[in-house]
């Protein structure tokens, strides 16, 4: 937050008096718990809610009476909130919050699944988990691109454009060459191209980084849309029929129930995303490069004094970020769909939200992306069972969650100190 720029407006009461942050969150959880117990419990039917370990109604399943489940999990949330209100030590905060939120979601699901039309009172967990990861994929790549950029002090609002350019060049060059690998490299280069523009204009020409990001999104939208209409629409067979990566089954791991079929029979992008989270996490917090990157993002002058080449490092990281996001874009065009105009459709901004919600850390970004992917998948599922909850409101969830996080209602989020400030040597 720009607390340094405007100190007086940024004064949030930090743990003062009785109403500490823990108690406030506890109060919210109690309210949610009451809502779940009373409302969801009343609306749920006595049909059993089944959570199957497969892709359909068959096979082993966890089963619970709808009303009973909705009330039970609602009470769980209530208890977690109550414990927070009672003033438990701070180390219990995260576990209790997790229990409370999971309880709320489960209570909600018990209601929804039991309330579904007859014969559809089941939730195929394999589908849900797989869909969650699939929908989270571009978010993970995008948020990682954001981590790389912003940890070194360059605001990356252009994630949307990088994803889009990656998707486009992956599709174009994959189609022309007929090789998925050429497509993958081209996607990385395409994403880096947008990144390079961001780097040159924000580092060399000191253009405001947020402004540049927004403009670059429009530029990417325009260029890909223009070339799509000129090339791909006129000759789709030649320019927009990229080969696709097939799914790779990992032996042994793919036999784990639920997680196996959902996670370990995926395509290269899924493995690559998880690997990148690990690599960037270790890189940032365990290597020399990571220490330098973080110091450049927090206090470039100090880093410069110690001999770190601030601008060079920023250039390198921003361009790397573009490559990561570009590959994320290719996770669409080289695995799932052929390219269409504006096919990223705002995913880049959800990725930005995931980055912020995940507090600028790779693992946090992964969890946030999965949460957003789950919300997305849940919307699809609820649509399929004719739920009375409109999908649009679930789709709003990531954005609402981010606003709440940024406003400091669910813990504080703090960006790297030098994020967005150009560094002028001298």
């Amino acid at each position: 937050m720009s607390t340094t720029a405007v100190p007086d407006v940024a004064v949030a009461p930090v743990d003062e008096g009785f109403w500490t942050r823990t108690r406030k969150v506890g109060l919210v959880l109690v309210a949610l718990g009451l809502l779940a117990t009373v409302l969801f419990g009343a609306l749920a039917t006595d049909e059993p809610a089944r959570f199957t370990f497969s892709e359909d109604a068959a096979g082993a399943a966890l089963e619970i009476n709808g009303t009973f489940g909705a009330i039970l999990f609602g009470l769980l949330t209530l208890a977690a909130g109550g414990a927070m209100l009672a003033g438990l030590p701070k180390r219990w905060f995260i576990p209790l919050l997790a229990v409370g939120l999971v309880g709320f979601v489960l209570s909600f699901l018990c209601w929804q699944v039991s309330d579904a039309p007859t014969g559809q009172n089941f939730m195929p967990l394999v589908n849900i988990v797989r869909g969650t990861f699939l929908l989270a994929l571009p978010l993970i790549f995008g948020a990682l691109a954001g981590v790389l950029c912003e940890r070194s002090g360059v605001v990356n609002v252009a994630i949307e454009g990088q994803l889009l350019m990656g998707a486009f060049s992956g599709a174009l060059f994959g189609s022309i060459s007929g090789s998925v690998w050429v497509g993958l490299v081209a996607a990385a280069v395409g994403g880096s191209f947008i990144s390079l523009l961001l780097a040159v204009f924000s580092i060399r020409y000191l253009v405001d980084q947020v402004v540049m990001g927004i403009v670059l999104n429009l530029l990417a939208l325009g260029i890909t849309g223009f070339l799509y209409e000129r090339l791909m629409q006129t000759d789709a067979a030649r320019y927009n029929s990229a080969p696709r990566f097939s799914n790779w089954e990992i032996p042994l791991l793919s036999d784990i129930p639920v997680l196996g079929p959902a996670l370990f029979r995926g395509n290269i992008f899924l493995y690559l995303a998880l690997l990148l989270v690990l690599v960037i996490h270790i890189g940032l917090f365990r290597t020399r490069w990571g220490l330098r990157t973080r110091s450049v993002g927090e206090h470039p002058t100090a880093a410069d004094t110690l001999g770190v080449k601030v601008l060079g490092l920023r250039y390198r990281n921003v361009i790397m970020a573009g490559a990561v996001a570009g590959i994320g874009g290719a996770s669409y065009t080289l695995a799932l769909f052929s390219f269409t105009k504006n096919m990223i459709g705002g995913k880049g901004f959800i990725a930005l939200a995931a980055l912020i919600f995940g507090r600028w850390s790779p693992t946090g970004a992964l969890l946030a992306a999965l949460f957003f992917g789950f919300a997305d998948q849940l919307a699809t599922y609820l649509g399929a069972i004719n739920s009375i909850i409109p999908g649009q409101f679930l789709a709003m969830l990531p954005y609402l969650a981010t606003i709440l996080a940024v406003a400091g209602l669910v813990g504080r989020v703090r960006a790297p100190a030098a994020d967005g400030k150009p560094y002028i040597k001298g």
Binding site: M1, S2, T3, A5, V6, D8, V9, A10, V11, A12, V155, V157, F201, Y205, L206, V207, D208, V210, V211, M212, I214, V215, L216, L218, L219, L221, G222, I223, G225, F226, L227, Y228, E229, R230, L231, F349, I350, L352, A353, I356, P390, Q392, F393, A395, M396, Y399, L400, T402, I403, V406, A407, G408, A415, A417, A418, D419, G420, K421, P422, I424
Partner: protein
């Protein structure tokens, strides 16, 4: 963006070269000059002054050259995406005239259509046909003025309002609801609908404003998020009972009553409507607000330096909230034009198009000054109108207009680059006079 040295700027180089040249040729001539009484250095003529200023990096020249650069890049895109023209480059060394002729034909025809669709078509035979390009341009310009002003106003107060899109969306929703739900007499109905649009935008601007003031949450993040919340709200609302058009199964709302629609300027086929007058009024009002009113002074003071403003006794929190409410109301007015004007008469998921995001570009191109914003909106409106004709006559995708718009702004945002490319002389101005709170 406030203060930075212009790296690599060719400041003063021409002057020093000139001096060097003068001293070099000096010795032989100096004797002659010294002997004559007219040895005083010659005063530059008016024409020469004009030429020098023309080639200096002032706002106008940089903007014009940015437009030229953008069109050059656009031409390259057109050429590389046309297989027929590209084929002529295969034997470029053998017969370069083929390639150049084909490229020129393609590009000049496209840009000619851009002009004919937005300003004047020499081939027009009737009055309606002659007025049509201008009418189209004005139709596209009106909402952009509002969203541009919204972004510019926030910029001047040190806030980056990326939420003009969401605010316009809320504006269009409330304006349309007032337009087909309220049974009011003509005139009053229009007034209520327009005000409803402003209120919708103001509410959507108030949220990030109060969050910024109370918790320090960065307005860029919150306005981005609110954009999407507004869009999902719109797509949900359209298919609700009482809102959706009963004769349709797709996502479209009931049309706005005729009594709530902005009157047209000309007869039926021409689309220009009175919204453009509202836009001019709004520009004047914002100019007055910024430069003549107490609030405008406080706003600029906060934008320039919040700490100093606070020391001087200005309430920074109150100013932030007010800025965002005003900015939101302006964007909401822009949104209301999309459904009360002639662009559309009913809500659809894409009814606001891109006016919010385009507003950001318009504000930057207009150097965040009210009348500059109005001119920039006119240029963007013209590009949009001409783009339509370019698409239908030369089958050049309308997306090229988005590319041109983005490129123009990239170039004007980095005047040092334009200066370096064209070897311009240094001059004052030509820099975006914004002071944003940096970072998140």
């Amino acid at each position: 963006m406030t203060t930075h040295p212009q790296p690599g700027s060719p400041d003063k180089e021409p002057a020093s070269e000139e001096q060097a040249a003068r001293t070099a040729l000096g010795d032989t001539e100096r004797a002659q000059l010294a002997s004559t009484p007219t040895a005083l250095p010659e005063r530059p003529t008016l024409g020469r002054l004009f030429l020098e200023n023309l080639w200096a990096a002032n706002t106008f020249t940089v903007t014009l050259l940015s437009l030229v650069l953008a069109m050059v890049v656009g031409a390259v895109l057109m050429i590389i995406s046309d297989p027929d023209v590209l084929a002529t480059y295969a034997y470029f060394t053998a017969r370069p005239t083929d390639a150049l002729g084909a490229s020129w034909g393609l590009v000049s025809e496209a840009y000619a259509n851009l002009f004919k669709g937005s300003v004047f078509d020499p081939g027009a035979t009737t009055v309606t046909a002659a007025l049509s390009p201008i009418s189209e341009t004005l139709t596209y310009t009106a909402p952009l003025v509002f969203t541009g002003l919204s972004v510019a106003l926030a910029f001047r107060g040190g806030l980056f309002n990326i939420g003009a899109q969401g605010q316009a969306t809320m504006g269009v929703i409330l304006a349309a609801l007032a337009g087909f739900l309220l049974p009011l007499p003509p005139g009053l109905h229009l007034l209520v609908a327009v005000l409803a649009g402003a209120v919708g935008g103001a509410v959507w601007g108030f949220i990030p404003g109060i969050l910024k003031a109370r918790t320090g949450a960065h307005e860029v993040i919150n306005t981005i998020m609110l954009n999407y919340i507004a869009v999902y709200f719109l797509t949900w609302l359209i298919v609700q009972n009482g809102v959706q058009d009963t004769r349709r199964t797709d996502a479209i709302s009931r049309p706005v009553d005729a009594s709530a629609q902005l009157p047209r300027l000309f007869d039926e086929p021409l689309r220009a409507h009175t919204g453009i007058f509202l836009a001019v009024l709004a520009t004047g009002a914002v100019a007055w607000l910024l430069n003549r009113s107490t609030l405008g002074f406080e706003l600029r003071a906060v934008g320039a330096n919040p700490d100093a403003a606070r020391t001087a006794g200005i309430s920074v929190t109150r100013t932030y909230v007010l800025i965002m409410v005003f900015a939101g109301a302006l964007a909401g007015l822009g949104g209301s034009q999309m459904v009360l004007g002639t662009t559309a008469a009913a809500l659809t998921p894409l009814v606001v198009a891109q006016i919010g995001f385009d507003g950001i570009l318009v504000a930057l191109l207009g150097r965040v000054k009210p009348w500059g914003v109005a001119l920039a909106a006119l240029l963007f409106g013209a590009l949009q109108a001409g783009g339509n004709r370019m698409q239908s006559y030369s089958s050049i995708s309308l997306e090229l207009v988005t590319v041109l718009q983005a490129l123009i702004v990239i170039f004007i945002a980095a005047p040092a680059l334009v200066k370096a490319i064209f070897q311009l002389r240094a001059a004052r101005a030509a820099r975006l006079q914004t002071s944003l709170a940096k970072g998140w």
